[in-house]
């Protein structure tokens, strides 16, 4: 699936050795470098607390509002340093983030939520309307619930809403944080199909943090694996899928094939590349 990434493409987003500290004392990212090529799907993998969300927030500049800051390194988008920009400047440049844990506007209806996604757009109501229909066609469930306040919809519906909202800004790059969380299996596939579709048809680039490694690597052109705030491995999607360590620790496949969750034994198997 990922063979077409072989060609060398121009880098859209580059993180160069960044370090992030929360609250002046908690050091979370310890020198992360990665890059997202134009028109590529790049996956960011890693266990809980590895720093995936932090990395994405560093890019979209949402860290500041959580009392975190990038203390070292640079972040460049299209060759421009973007660290000092505001989140809305980034959105205007075509970078939008889908936040982990949904973050819908509770009191707004689903449709109003989607419309806020189009806040920065200047290309006219008709275009926006078209995209709204597109989002509804991706997620028919949202259309059914369009007049409900987002706060009263189910977890999955909120997740769809959050993704749909980002699509409404007709972005160039999407930072997707755990898009599959809480979605039913067929929807997970669908989401990734949408990603692929947007990527291929519209040339949208993606940086996605995902726990569902199997699916993510199947769609991603390139992947980085993060552990405790450091990149410990990277490679093409397909190559990572074949890596023995990745198989063992992220895919749950042992040499005998897929393990049953029931048979997992009571011992600690976690492997650390480095710490």
């Amino acid at each position: 699936m990922a063979e077409q990434t072989a060609q060398q493409s121009e880098m859209l987003l580059t993180l160069n050795n960044i370090e992030v500290i929360y609250n002046h004392v908690i050091l979370v990212l310890k020198g992360v470098s990665l890059s997202v090529p134009k028109g590529g799907i790049t996956a960011l993998l890693g266990g809980n607390g590895a720093g995936k969300t932090t990395t994405l927030k560093a890019v979209s500049n949402l860290l500041r509002s959580e009392r975190g800051e990038v203390t070292k390194g640079t972040i460049e988008y299209r060759g421009e340093k973007v660290q000092s920009l505001s989140p809305s400047d980034l959105v205007k440049r075509g970078v939008i983030q889908v936040m982990e844990g949904r973050h819908c506007f509770e009191h707004l209806t689903i449709e109003e939520n989607l419309m806020t996604g189009a806040y920065t757009r200047r290309d006219g109501a008709a275009e926006v309307q078209k995209d709204l229909e597109l989002v509804y066609s991706y997620f028919p469930r949202l259309k059914e619930r369009r007049k409900s306040q987002a706060g009263y919809t189910s977890g999955g519906e909120q997740q769809m809403c959050a993704i749909g909202r980002a699509l409404m800004s007709s972005p160039e790059t999407i930072l997707l944080d755990e898009p599959s969380m809480g979605l039913a299996p067929q929807l997970v596939e669908e989401i990734f199909e949408i990603v692929k579709d947007l990527n291929e048809r519209e040339g949208v680039s993606f940086l996605l943090a995902e726990q569902n490694t199997t699916v993510a690597l199947r769609y991603a052109h390139y992947g980085y694996i993060l552990e405790s705030g450091r990149v410990v491995m990277d490679g093409e999607g397909a190559a990572l899928l074949e890596n023995e360590d990745v198989k063992e620790f992220y895919l749950g496949l042992s040499t005998e094939g897929r393990r049953s969750y029931r048979d997992v034994k009571h011992y600690k198997r976690r492997k650390r590349w480095l710490s």
Partner: protein, 308 residues
Amino acid sequence: MIFFIETVISGLMAGVMYALVALGFVLIFKASGIFNFAQGVLALFAALTLTGIMDNFGLSAWIAIPLTLGVMVLLAILIERLVLQHLVNQEPIILFMATIGLAYVLEGIGDILWGSNVKVLDVGLPNGASDWMLDSFDIYVEKLEVAAAVTATILVIVLSIFSQYTRIGRALRAVADDHQAALSVGISLRTIWVIVWSIAGFVALVAGIMWGSKSGVQFSLSLIALKALPVLILGGFTSIPGAIVGGLIIGVGEKIAEIYLGEVMSALFSLDRNIFSAIENWFAYVLALGFLLFRPQGLFGERIIERV
């Protein structure tokens, strides 16, 4: 009977005056989830600036009002730059506290700039009781308050439309729900905040003009904020029309209570009727509280979302 009608009317009028102040609160709360304690001081500050400009430079109200408005916009920008910008994504109570700090600052600066003497504010609004009402119906209505009622109505209509149906309006409500998510979709909190605080400054100016014309411009003007609070919870923190409906209910309720409760109590329980005087203040709150027990979000407020 005439007297009862008169009581009701004066209650309505008082209510409108409260609503003018409440409106400022609602705007900011609705648009950013901030309970703006400084609203009263903002009204004082606006009125002080207006009189300051008029008296010191001998300008007419027509020039001074737009100038004051300019000052209020400038103030909004400063508030955003120096305060709010640094408090994105904080809990409501922290933002509330910051507005208290702001209230102190504005009070101090207002004093330093314009002094604490009483200033007479005359922008040409009609004053005194309406002779026509008094002569033909023997009902006493203040002309100033009629003007206030008209202004308030216009404000409410315009602001409701603005917040419900425009792109910016939607963004305002989004910010109130979730700062981070709003940032993430590209809503610039800074712009939004400057916009709402400017509008709130405008509303404060209107309130300042009305109250200032009524009782002179001086520190006490900032205390009218307290009168707006019961109105606010009754109408709902997030509802612009709620501010006016709440105002009317509170206004009428407290006037009727103040005038009649003593009589009723002395008739029913032979209690000293003098005890039941000066009850307006707490009565307004108790009345609002009564409504809240049935609708915890106020009459028109947004439902409080309770889910797990």
